[in-house]
């Protein structure tokens, strides 16, 4: 009996280590393991424990699973997040996906700050055959969004994907700028469904959690777009985010091309997390 008790703790420690290595974080891993301890039988074997863990994680990530934007318009999707996470590329992927679904799609290049940011999105628009509303370099991003909304309404578009500049979530001025962009959308197109997606790089560690908190506060968030999942990083920080902020993962990015996009599947994600 003593032997099986020791073995159980060894297995549970191993599972906790796997979660930590996947960037789930020490605190969240501890909580998940605690839930596992109470929910599983004392004599559960390794396979049972592992399956129970996967069930637990999948359940955490399945809350609010329905409600993914499907482009039945009018929908405005705001792409927000810290620098370099993949917002511009992911905006293009969403535009491609909804266009392929037969929707009337537009893009707004509201990153008026970074070098060649608008040119980057404009090239995507050209490639995909999706119109891109731009502004002048250094202009107020809210002005670009305003113009984009007028155009979007005039053309009775289904989906408008708004690309914003990368910003560090601790920069209050930039976070206020984002809040203003959101207000413009709500004010100018109150009838539209507003989706605010946090574009999160799967390689990020625990800092993903404060990022999610801040962006939730300033731009409101309706979901997460997890990028660069084609790398080796597991993106486990989304577990803690789902737990604390109840944010669903809507899409995952698996490459640099416009088709490298999947709808999020909790089961598949959890399998990969522990592989």
């Amino acid at each position: 009996l003593f032997q099986s008790g020791k073995r159980r703790e060894e297995i549970l420690d191993g599972l906790e280590e796997a979660l930590i290595l996947a960037d789930v974080g020490v605190a969240a891993s501890g909580r998940v393991l605690e839930a596992l301890r109470t929910k599983t039988r004392k004599d559960a074997g390794e396979a049972d424990l592992e399956r129970a863990l996967k069930d637990e994680l999948a359940a955490m990530l399945s809350r609010r699973a329905d409600g993914r934007p499907d482009g039945s318009g009018p929908t405005v999707i705001l792409m927000v997040g810290v620098n370099g996470g993949g917002k511009t590329t992911s905006a293009a992927k969403l535009a491609a996906r909804f266009k392929r679904d037969g929707k009337r799609v537009m893009l707004a290049a509201a990153d008026t700050f970074r070098a060649a940011a608008q040119e980057q999105l404009a090239l995507w628009g050209k490639k995909l055959g999706v119109p891109v509303v731009k502004g002048s370099y250094g202009a107020d991003p809210a002005a670009v969004v305003f113009d984009a909304i007028q155009s979007f309404k005039a053309q009775q578009g289904d989906v408008l994907v708004v690309d914003t500049a990368g910003r560090i979530h601790t920069n209050t001025n930039l976070m206020n700028e984002l809040e203003k962009v959101k207000r413009i959308v709500v004010r100018e197109h109150p009838g539209a469904r507003l989706e605010s997606l946090l574009v999160l790089d799967a390689t990020i560690g625990q800092n993903a959690i404060p990022q999610a908190r801040e962006f939730l506060k300033f731009s409101g968030l309706t979901g997460i777009f997890l990028t660069k999942v084609d790398g080796t990083a597991k993106g486990g920080a989304v577990v803690a985010i789902a737990e604390e902020l109840d944010l669903p993962i809507r899409f995952i990015g698996v490459g640099e091309g416009e088709d490298d996009l999947f709808e999020f599947s909790p089961r598949e994600f959890v399998e990969a997390l522990l592989s």
């Binding site: 960037d23 996470g85 070098a115 990020i204 560690g205 625990q206």
Partner: protein, 294 residues
């Protein structure tokens, strides 16, 4: 904070005069927690723990500090020692032009850092020429050209026509750089996954032709456990000379710094602390150590 936790533990250890295996285990557990929360890689943490244990149980303990204070000091010194151990300034060739090549994962900040590096070397009297080998990302050439132009530095346009015969294109670039007296040549490369064998091989070939004095791994300070995997792969497949850690203006603890240095053995020479070209600093190991420890 690690120091807070260890101070709390001090109360529990009060009266004890030397570090023992027993009170050491508690201190190490707290240190492990702090490091993991700071995104230091799990295996790097375990190795670090072993080093600390060895030091703490050794000669040094017979001082006036309490055991907990002693452990904190050893941890801080050891951390700063690893981070700053190989410290060297930016390397230049004795036969100009020097080539500085920036590599790393997608979105880590390479293109932006090229501009920062150019501005920094100009500040020590050099004449940089910037070039980008990224022919894939939309407007990548334009991004570096815009940065170069805004800073007043020359930009060499690498076109897909030129890159059709890469060996010739690279040799032509080096000749151009030497003839115009530019030094260093700062080379931006496309972001790539360390598991993309084809792109890693492409990078290895470019490096072989350019023979750079610096191959700089540009890493994002918010990287989590994966930091060792990518950095190690770039070190093994390409060979690195140094590291630049970006986005330290955020509030990520930056444990990736320790992970990357521990696994590659290469020094961090600079850090990025913002998007603008002047947001660039020489790396300070003690400051990074404090940041990681929280």
């Amino acid at each position: 904070q690690l120091s807070e936790r260890l101070e709390r533990m001090m109360k529990f250890l009060r009266g004890e005069v030397k570090v023992t295996d027993k009170n050491m285990a508690e201190a190490l557990k707290m240190m492990r927690l702090a490091f993991l929360e700071a995104d230091v890689n799990y295996k790097v943490v375990r190795d670090f723990e072993a080093r600390i244990k060895e030091k703490a149980l050794g000669e040094e303990v017979l001082r006036s500090l309490s055991p907990a204070q002693q452990v904190i000091k050893i941890v801080r010194d050891e951390l700063a020692g690893i981070l700053g151990g190989q410290q060297k300034p930016l390397l230049f060739s004795s036969r100009p032009p020097s080539v500085i090549m920036l590599v790393g994962l997608q979105g880590s900040g390479k293109t932006t850092t090229c501009g920062k590096l150019a501005r920094w070397v100009a500040g020590i009297g050099k004449s940089p020429l910037l070039v980008s080998f990224d022919l894939k990302r939309p407007a990548a050439q334009e991004q570096l050209k815009t940065i170069a132009t805004s800073l007043g530095f020359p930009f060499y346009e690498m076109t897909s026509a030129r890159m059709a015969s890469p060996k010739e294109a690279l040799k032509e670039l080096l000749v151009h750089t030497a003839n115009r007296g530019f030094d260093p040549l700062i080379v931006d490369t496309a972001g790539r996954l360390h598991v993309d064998d084809e792109l890693m091989e492409e990078l290895r070939l470019v490096r072989a032709i350019l023979d750079p004095t610096e191959v700089v791994y540009v890493g994002d300070a918010m990287t989590g456990q994966d930091a060792v995997r990518s950095a190690q792969a770039f070190e093994e497949k390409i060979g690195l000379t140094s590291v630049i850690l970006t986005k330290l203006d955020g509030d990520a603890r930056g444990g990736a710094a320790l992970s990357i240095v521990a696994v590659t053995g290469r020094p961090i020479k600079f850090i990025g602390v913002g998007e603008k070209p002047d947001k660039f600093e020489v790396f300070h190991p003690e400051r990074m150590a404090s940041r990681i420890l929280g």
